[in-house]
């Protein structure tokens, strides 16, 4: 278990808790690019009940029919990616950790929109968005309901 603390750039939203893993990943999907303003979000999985929030509550933007993205409403810092249901986990943004060096890069996701040239790595696992069953199943359920 890794003890962590973190929060947004302006300091209004804070969190503390523990991680079960130090394995972070880059998500290169287009929504993560927009959310971070860059080429990829760096994310690490945490148990919801292992993270305690303090200060101003994070704002939740509904980014898809089954997920929200948490951010600070005062400074915009992206803080989380969270499924609405079917998961007791959430993703924290690595950059919002007070010590991002507590985690390490273990894989790449959303590689269909990887922008080459910024991050050099050919050794870690690469997954496309459509190769990840939890996401594929949620989209299938949305399309079935339409």
């Amino acid at each position: 278990m890794i003890e962590i603390e973190g929060g947004c750039q302006c300091g209004a939203v804070r969190y503390a808790g523990t991680l079960d893993t130090d394995e972070a990943y880059f998500c290169h999907c287009r929504m993560c690019q927009r959310a971070t303003g860059g080429v990829a979000a760096a994310l690490v999985n945490a148990r919801r009940d292992a993270v305690t929030w303090s200060g101003r509550p994070r704002d939740l933007y509904r980014s898809s029919p089954f997920a929200h993205r948490g951010h600070c409403a005062l400074c915009g810092t992206p803080l989380t990616f969270e499924y609405d249901a079917g998961s007791d986990m959430l993703d924290l943004t690595v950059g919002s950790l007070d010590e991002p060096g507590l985690v390490r890069l273990a894989s790449h996701f959303g590689v269909e929109s990887w922008v080459p040239g910024w991050i050099h790595d050919d050794t870690l696992p690469h997954l496309r968005t459509d190769e990840h069953p939890p996401l594929v199943e949620r989209w299938a359920a949305v399309h079935k309901a339409e």
Partner: protein, 146 residues
Amino acid sequence: MIEGGCQCGAVRYRVSAADLKVYACHCRECQRQSGSAFALSAPVRSADFALTGDVGVWSRGTASGARTACSFCAACGTRIHHQSSAAPEWLTLKPGTLDDTSGLFARAHIWTAHRQPWVILDPAVEAFETQPADLPAWRRRFVEAG
């Protein structure tokens, strides 16, 4: 025409320029602000930039004594651009918000002294351990270089 916007679509912008020159900053503020391991910046002349939609602004002091105004979508939090009080005729766009990010070419890295050790850079791309001594002047040369 270069166009982009936030995750939710409430903020949209256009840049009247032939292309964007983009660098990465690995400083802790940029890691925090982006939620990722580094942030991207594309210097743009303020006169060439047109934005529609409702933005929130959070501003912070910098080491040089200037203030940086950070603009983000008031609805979804997406950080759109930064503007320094020392050089209001320029702004730095967060280019992950472009509608098409596939052409974002890596031209430079700054503050690599704070690079997360698991981010491997291309040795062929210019890199500064900290930042160029006169950052606004460097940005201008950076944009005007062919």
